[in-house]
């Protein structure tokens, strides 16, 4: 139990550090939100209007410690400020709109990728030296080495545009109202297919390779030999003993991947015009939208920390050594 408490303490510290970094980094970047505001207006705004606009946005000149204090205080209240690029929408609302879709898309693709990759890895480990084992890893490595942007564009062009099999944009058909109807759910699944496929294709390779090598190493452990000698069924040996420990190294990586779910689908969302929050991040950086940037980083940071904590808990369950 002390193990879990220690981890929890560590995560709280990490959360504070990242919040602080989150505050500092945007302010170190070149340019400032006021000039970004001007960019949006491209000379169509008179100076007085701009000044009044800045006040409305809350660009008050204050010493950094004061800004920092009010930043932390506002965070505690759950107030993330007003977005410049989506003025006057509060950052909380802007993020909330995209969050669900991002979690859905990347969650599904990361889980699929991990499950499929580990399964394939296990198969390859069993049949190592076989035809599948000699063909699949190089092909997957090759796919994984493709620039994501290029591969997704190719998928979009071939499967979506030329063959016209799958919808190429948005999270659901434009004429549907979100709800729990069959039409909406199937439309959402269909729309997520291409972006999810592109993410899975580029990421599945690493899971396959890591599972394959982990399992091969595990299968040559003495305890597996012992289990076989005891006459346990092969299936029981593999699933209760070998896979369980071969999964541990992958699990740490899975925690990271899960944490990056919120930011990781940025490219997919841009290529497939998927209304998630990855694109918001890009938009926020471009517009020096401090408030939105901080809000997004906050959600990403918390997601990474939370995912890692969950993985810690999971390893605690899977790995008896930690319980000792």
């Amino acid at each position: 139990m002390t193990y879990l408490l220690r981890r929890l303490g560590f995560y709280l510290l990490a959360a504070w550090v990242s919040l602080t970094v989150n505050f500092v980094i945007p302010r170190l970047a070149p340019g400032d939100p006021a000039s970004a505001l001007q960019l949006r207006f491209q000379g169509r705004l008179e100076p007085e209007a701009l000044l009044a606009m800045k006040q409305a946005f809350g660009f008050v000149e204050a010493p950094l410690p004061v800004q920092y204090a009010s930043y932390l205080a506002a965070l505690l209240r759950g107030d993330l400020g007003i977005s410049v690029s989506y003025f006057p929408a509060p950052v909380r609302d802007v993020i909330a709109e995209g969050l669900g879709w991002t979690v859905f898309l990347s969650g599904v693709s990361v889980l699929t990728s991990f499950a499929l990759g580990s399964l394939l890895g296990a198969v390859l480990a069993f049949r190592r030296g076989g035809l599948m084992d000699s063909v699949l890893p190089p092909v997957l490595t090759f796919l994984g080495a493709f620039p994501y942007f290029w591969l997704s564009m190719l998928l979009l062009y071939v499967l979506g545009f030329s063959l016209d099999w799958l919808p190429v944009r948005h999270a659901y058909a434009d004429h549907l109202e979100p709800g729990l109807s069959l039409a909406f759910v199937s439309s959402a699944l269909l729309h997520a297919f291409l972006p999810a496929l592109s993410i899975v294709l580029t990421s599945v390779g690493s899971w396959v390779l890591s599972m394959r090598s982990n399992l091969i190493a595990t299968l040559s452990e003495d305890y597996v030999l012992l289990a076989a000698a005891k006459g346990l069924s092969p299936r029981r040996i593999v699933f209760r003993y070998a896979v369980r420990s071969a999964l541990l190294p992958s699990l740490a990586g899975f925690g990271m991947a899960l944490g990056f779910v919120l930011s990781g689908s940025l490219l997919a969302e841009i290529v497939f015009s998927y209304p998630g929050q990855g694109y918001l991040l890009y938009q926020a950086v471009k517009n020096q939208d401090y408030a939105l940037l901080q809000g997004l980083f906050l959600s990403i940071t918390l997601a990474v920390l939370l995912a890692n904590f969950l993985v810690d808990v999971l390893s605690f369950v899977l790995d008896p050594r930690l319980r000792g």
Partner: protein, 595 residues
Amino acid sequence: MRRRGALPPRALRAPLSPRALRAPLFVLCLVVLAASLGCERERPHFERGVAVVLPTQSATWVRNFNPFLPTQARWPTQSGIYEPLLIYHTLEQRYVPWLATGYRWERDNRALVMTIRRGVLFSDGQPFGPKDVVFTWKLMQKYPALDSTGMAKRLVGIESSPDEVTFVWDEPFVPGLYFVGQAPIVPEHVWRDVPDPVKFANETPIGTGPFTEVRSFKTQVYELGKNPHYWQPGRPHLDAIRVPAFAGNEQASLAMIRGDIDWGAIFIPAIDRLFVAKDPEHRGYAFQQVEGTVMLYANTTRPPFDDAEVRKALSLGIDRRRIVSIAMQGYTRPADASGLSDFYRRFHDRALVEAEGDWTRYDPAAGEKLLEARGIRRGADGRRRLADGSLFEVDVNCVVGWSDWIIAAKLIVEGLQAMGVSAKLRTYDFGAWFSKLQRGEFQLSLGWSTGGPSLYTFYGRQMASATVRPIGQAAEYNWQRFASPEADRLFLELAKTADPAEEMRISRELVRLFVQSAPAIPLFPGPAFGQYTSRRIEGFPTVDDPYVALAPYKIPGFLLALVELRPRGMPRRPDALGVFSGTRSMRLQSSGAQP
């Protein structure tokens, strides 16, 4: 050492081997197959009477219909949900009366009297009248953040009578017509109860425009239904306009090419081959050169750029034809020495410009001669030196990521280097670039130009001494810091006259002055681009009948198109109020239908 052959896996392999794993894999494959083939193919869903328009690109939409926040409000808030008093018709170079039926100048051109149209209703059925116009302007005076053109603060009086609204300045200010005429008018009975109009997202707008009813609003698409009380009888012909969100140009281009979008503003390269050729009968596009001219600004506070002859010499070294064909893909034309785009066509007189100066032609030899004459000579290494012996080194500033401008800037640098000038391209983030430009901390820099339809604003922002700020202080305009007393005198005259002939005479003087003194180095007019597919929707401005600029983002001109568009096959309803009378569309009314 562990012997591989004796490993348990070999024993394990047979019983477990693929069979156990084959089942889940097989199911997975089935699911994939079902998803890709089994499901009914989803086609973009079109409804008759709904036009899909793509005026601008954004990954997600946030619901905001506040007409005073021009860049935050969703299209077509400024002219579509709300409407202006007058519409400046960029192609015909004149005002089309809209919520006003006419205007006149009084009190030695200090007072502008707008006659307000009768019988106009807001979308909630309440009548529109002069009180709403007065309220809108007083609101802008009260909240400077809403006064994006800065015109409300210059007004000393806004008076109303049952049919008219009078705008009063403390001195004659005829160029104010544009700013007064273009402002969207909001209903008093709604906005007087808004606590903070600057932060008001106006999610359910009430306006006089053709499309006011928010039928649905989602992050990826929104749809506006037609105003049930629209004041032009029988119009708009469309039931609704739908605006989808696109994060990138690639996606938008594919959708446009596939025909999923009826009316778009997308930069498509090789548009004839990629877009029009797929359906030549129904597709068209326009690149109208009615945006501001892109300029190369020379900081006139720094020698030798204070010398007009040096600026002209540098200009002679720029191959604008190459810039236009490479950086702009041929979608515009080289600018001439007046710097006037087609937005100012009525003032443009080619003979006059060419007589006064042809320093925008590509003639490096002439440029070099001019530099020699100003004492900027080539040294032994072939590089030019200033009279004091120092190298003539020039930085050309541009913005990171603005690829068309960067290509243009590279070609400029090449041209200058060929003349022996040690030129270098410097790219900055927008913020840094703009701050340098505004503060006058640059030598040469690319930049845009802006202005209303009078040269008072366009040239005023290039050479009026009132716009000059000291170095180090941010200037809104006139970044080159060029002032001309003669121009100031002409601007004063221009502000006073409402007589078209007199306006033309003064404007020609200003053109002459600009060409002679080269306050900025014009490169090319900015193109306004738009394209359409008329398979489902017709009535677009075409090459044969360009009744308005095709670009769906050109505020407020596209209003004229919004009320003209109709489902294919629907007869065009007559323009009962004669709003279009006098425009080229008259021809259409007599023939009844668009060819």
